[in-house]
């Protein structure tokens, strides 16, 4: 030990002391922050337990009441979410979470049905065909689309799109019918074009120059829809659906939710799927093309199988987002706790139910704990789905590294 009174030594000790203090503080702070984050799950579990475990504070309910059918009790609707209806009476509250879970999954399913094909198509196009310059612009554009707040999308879906679709149901149907043949027609026409024009409008920029073509298809669909209605549906599609198929039609329905939430979910699925596709080592794709495969064949036979775990995890992340999205469902769905397969009827999701009912439910009561149970379900579902996706992605990264050529 050198002379402890010499200034350099004191300074060194001071520095080391400060260093140790800082390390302790960073460790404590870091662990504290992470513990606070992870406390969410713990809190939900602790608050939900009294619902099933008699503690004296709240009356418990049997787990069966949450998911078993009420058929035996002679209730026409077999499952019912109606936790406040019995406040004055001594009847047992009907607290089946089944219709809410149904609504959540139905909305998510419709959203994925719209988002996944769009996102995967877009990802395939931008990973394999798109001009690099357009691609470097498209990615941030879709990132901006991902950042659009749910409340804006929900407002447009619930108050603009829903009434429009209600009036123009046949237009929507005609557009759906025309979309795929229209795009194929565009491809067919393009291959007949003189080479000079083809070079002016290369496939790499098709994402942009197909926009006017799509608008043209929209106009065509609008023009064709009365004809389609008259030919196939006896003049009035709405009437036909209601009378012939016996469907209830609500203005704000599952299809609107699907469209809006598909729009919201699509960019995140796209981003992950594009990462997975473009992360496939170039040597694989180049090898396939050198053997004479077209780029589409390369995609289908080589790139897609190699990237399939990444695609899977992209879809999982999309599902997690769709299940938890609150404002879009709240504003675009009508919030009626129904259980039907009918895409034109309303639904009510777990997240929307929490947002509507929790401010009114007194803390500690049965209703409050039921809503916390709903939150716990959402938490557990999204956490599991995301963990699965993350594990799959880690695997995938290892696989790419093994296949060589990866970064």
């Amino acid at each position: 030990m050198p002379d402890s009174s010499s200034p350099p030594s004191i300074r060194r000790r001071l520095r080391q002391g400060r260093d140790r203090l800082a390390t302790v503080l960073v460790t404590a702070g870091g662990i504290g922050v992470i513990a606070a984050l992870l406390a969410i799950g713990v809190f939900l579990v602790v608050e939900v337990v009294p619902l099933f475990w008699p503690t004296g504070a709240t009356e418990t309910i049997s787990p069966q009441a949450l998911w078993l059918s009420l058929e035996a009790a002679g209730d026409p609707a077999r499952y019912r979410w109606d936790p406040t209806a019995t406040l004055g009476t001594d009847e047992a509250a009907r607290v089946s979470l089944v219709p809410l879970a149904w609504g959540t999954l139905e909305a998510a399913a419709w959203a994925l049905l719209i988002a996944v094909p769009l996102a995967l198509g877009a990802a395939a196009h931008s990973a394999l065909f798109m001009a690099p310059r357009l691609r470097s612009r498209l990615k941030p554009t879709l990132e901006l689309m991902e950042a659009l707040p749910g409340v804006v999308i929900g407002f447009v879906a619930g108050l603009v799109l829903a009434p429009w679709v209600e009036r123009h149901l046949a237009d929507v149907l005609a557009m759906l019918v025309l979309l795929v043949p229209g795009l194929l027609l565009a491809g067919g026409l393009w291959s007949r074009l003189p080479p000079r024009l083809q070079q002016a409008m290369p496939l790499g920029w098709a994402g942009l120059w197909l926009l006017p073509w799509l608008l043209l298809l929209l106009v065509a669909a609008h023009a064709l829809s009365p004809w389609l209605e008259a030919w196939a549906f006896g003049g009035d599609l709405r009437h036909w659906l209601e009378v012939r198929l016996g469907l209830d039609i609500a203005v704000r329905n599952a299809m609107i939710v699907g469209m809006a939430m598909g729009f919201a979910v699509m960019p995140s699925v796209y981003a992950l799927a594009e990462d997975a596709l473009s992360g496939v080592p170039r040597s694989l794709a180049e090898g396939a093309q050198a053997l004479g495969a077209t780029r589409w064949q390369t995609l289908w036979r080589v790139v897609l199988p190699a990237a399939s775990p990444g695609i899977f995890s992209a879809v999982m992340i999309g599902a997690g987002r769709a299940v938890g999205e609150t404002m879009i469902v709240l504003m675009a769905s009508g919030n009626a706790a129904l259980m039907t397969w009918n895409p034109l009827d309303g639904l009510r999701s777990l997240a929307a139910t929490i947002a509507i009912e929790l401010p009114e439910a007194g803390p500690g009561g049965q209703h409050y704990r039921l809503l916390l149970l709903a939150a716990l379900l959402l938490f557990a579902f999204t956490f599991l789905v995301n963990t699965l996706a993350e594990l799959v992605r880690t695997r995938l990264r290892l696989r790419y590294r093994r296949l060589g050529g990866g970064p």
Binding site: I31, I34, P149, A375
Partner: protein, 515 residues
């Protein structure tokens, strides 16, 4: 771009139908995005443009005056009908009129039609027949219009003076009085001045002949603005438009959020987001430093890292539930018992408020900041750290002098992304403290100046509330569009900043990571 010869060599083979469907999905997504943004832009900004007022003569001789809103086909397919905004709700109880197009015999745009914006009852549309000035003088024709315009300028000045007096002199004195201060005399003087201003605003009225032959008498102090849209030149209209946009940004809401501006909501959103970033930045950076620089890089750390990443995907409403249960009911309720015992049946911190909302959103955006900062830290090559340590720096010095400055753009990106996410989140706020209408903004001249326990207004919630809970959704719609546009613009700007920063980051440190 590919070389021309290459693309030509591939042309004859074609790519098959799948390639076109894939290209179509890019185009379709872009089309949906463009449609959404242009809808918001056109409707949101178009609302402030002074629309021409049509005088419509119907088959049965009735007349009506109003702004044409839209035209839709009749349900039976027998024709079309038009929606006019006719105002004059105090006369006939309706503000809108649907007119079948076939029943219209003539449409004209007379230059003398006047649109009044009033404090109550919304708009009034008609012809100015006479004006009784404050002195009781009766004016007609152009003289009446000139006198009206002059008087409105005076009234606006008086209103401003009154509001300033109330906010800056009287309200603080009243609070001081409640706190036991001796300000009676000052208050009496201010109140007398207020009464003076009030009296100066009274008097005078105008008489409006409506299109259907009725007569409307409006006291002048009720009129906020008057214009003759059909007589305006384009520069005048542009000026009116700019003024309308400015008022939308700077005024408070009127008429149950269906009219007026969104200033309190802008203020609330910005304040909440600022508080949130003050909370989230240090903690997020701290956690990231711990995870990346201090913690032993073992299995547990990897698991924690995955868990933190996954928390970014947990629905925001779950964070709202956590905020309500822990912050509001748990911590807030306890604080109330300890410190605000006197007011207890009515909660102080035991209800939603600014502080709890900021804390909840900070928790919600914590994973975003942690992940972004960690990415930035991981990009810094180990040589930099080792070099610093080899030169004798302690770990703290290595972190603060070498590592953190290099990771600053990543941290900023994380914080900006967090802000952008927080600005758009509404669902958790509905549980922890947003208000439909907050009369007092959370900042004022009263100690402690920043009131963390108050509820606040938020742009996103304003959209939800005005669009779904208002009585007259039809008349709230233009403002909802404008609010939505504003929110989207704010978020787009924040995100563009983040993208720019990230680009900057990758070009600056790209060379370092390539080893």
């Amino acid at each position: 771009m590919r070389p021309v010869s290459g693309s030509r060599a591939r042309l004859p083979r074609g790519e098959g139908p799948g390639a076109w469907l894939a290209a179509g999905s890019v185009a379709l997504s872009l089309l949906a995005l463009l449609a959404l943004l242009s809808l918001l832009a056109v409707r949101g900004l178009g609302h402030f443009w002074p629309a021409p007022v049509a005088l419509v003569v119907l088959e049965d001789g009735r007349q009506l005056a109003g702004e044409r809103v839209r035209e839709v086909p009749l349900p039976e397919g027998t024709g079309r009908e038009r929606l006019y905004r006719t105002g004059n709700r105090d006369l006939d109880g309706a503000r809108w009129a649907w007119v079948p197009v076939s029943a219209i015999t003539a449409v004209s745009h007379p230059r003398d039609l006047v649109v009044l914006e009033r404090r109550r009852w919304g708009e009034a549309i008609g012809r100015l027949t006479a004006l009784e000035s404050v002195t009781g003088e009766r004016l007609e024709g152009e003289a009446a219009w000139a006198a009206l315009e002059g008087r409105l300028v005076e009234l606006a000045a008086l209103r401003r003076a009154r509001d300033t007096l109330r906010d800056e002199v009287i309200l603080p004195r009243v609070r001081a009085l409640e706190a036991g201060g001796d300000v009676d005399r000052e208050l009496a003087i201010a109140n007398a001045r207020l009464r003076e201003l009030q009296a100066a605003m009274e008097g005078g009225r105008l008489i409006l002949a409506t299109a259907d032959g009725g007569q409307l008498t409006v006291p002048l102090e009720e009129v906020l603005r008057a214009r003759r849209p059909n007589a305006m030149s384009p520069p005048d209209k542009l000026a009116t438009w700019g003024e309308g946009v400015w008022r939308f940004l700077s005024e408070g809401p009127r008429a149950a959020n269906t009219a007026g501006g969104v200033w309190p909501a802008i203020f609330g959103t910005v304040l909440m987001v600022m508080l949130m970033s003050v909370l989230v930045t240090p903690f997020g950076v701290l956690a990231a430093i711990y995870l990346n620089e201090v913690a032993h890089q073992g299995r547990l750390t990897r698991l924690v890292r995955i868990a933190v990443r996954n928390l970014a995907g947990v629905p925001s409403i779950v964070y709202g539930v956590f905020g309500l249960g822990v912050f509001v009911y748990g911590i807030g309720g306890t604080l109330d018992e300890w410190f605000f015992d006197a007011t207890l049946p009515s909660p102080t911190f035991g209800t939603g408020g600014l502080l709890w909302a900021s804390l909840t959103l900070a928790l919600l955006t914590l994973p975003v900041v942690i992940v972004a900062t960690e990415e930035g830290l991981a990009r810094i090559p180990d040589q930099q750290r080792e070099g610093a340590l080899a030169l004798g720096a302690t770990r703290l010095e290595m972190l603060t002098r070498v590592v953190l400055p290099m990771a600053t753009p990543a941290m900023l990106t994380g914080v900006i992304l967090a802000v952008a996410r927080a600005a758009g989140e509404v669902a958790p706020l509905m549980l922890v403290g947003v208000a439909k209408l907050a009369p007092q903004v959370p900042v004022d001249g009263d100690f402690p100046f920043l009131h963390l326990d108050r509820k606040f207004m938020h742009l996103g919630y304003h959209i939800f509330d005005a669009a779904f809970h208002g009585g007259d959704v039809q008349s709230a719609m233009p403002l909802v569009y404008a609010t939505a546009l504003l929110l989207v613009l704010v978020i787009l700007v924040l995100n563009l900043t983040a993208i720019f920063l990230r680009h900057h980051l990758s070009t600056r440190h790209g060379a370092l990571t390539r080893r």
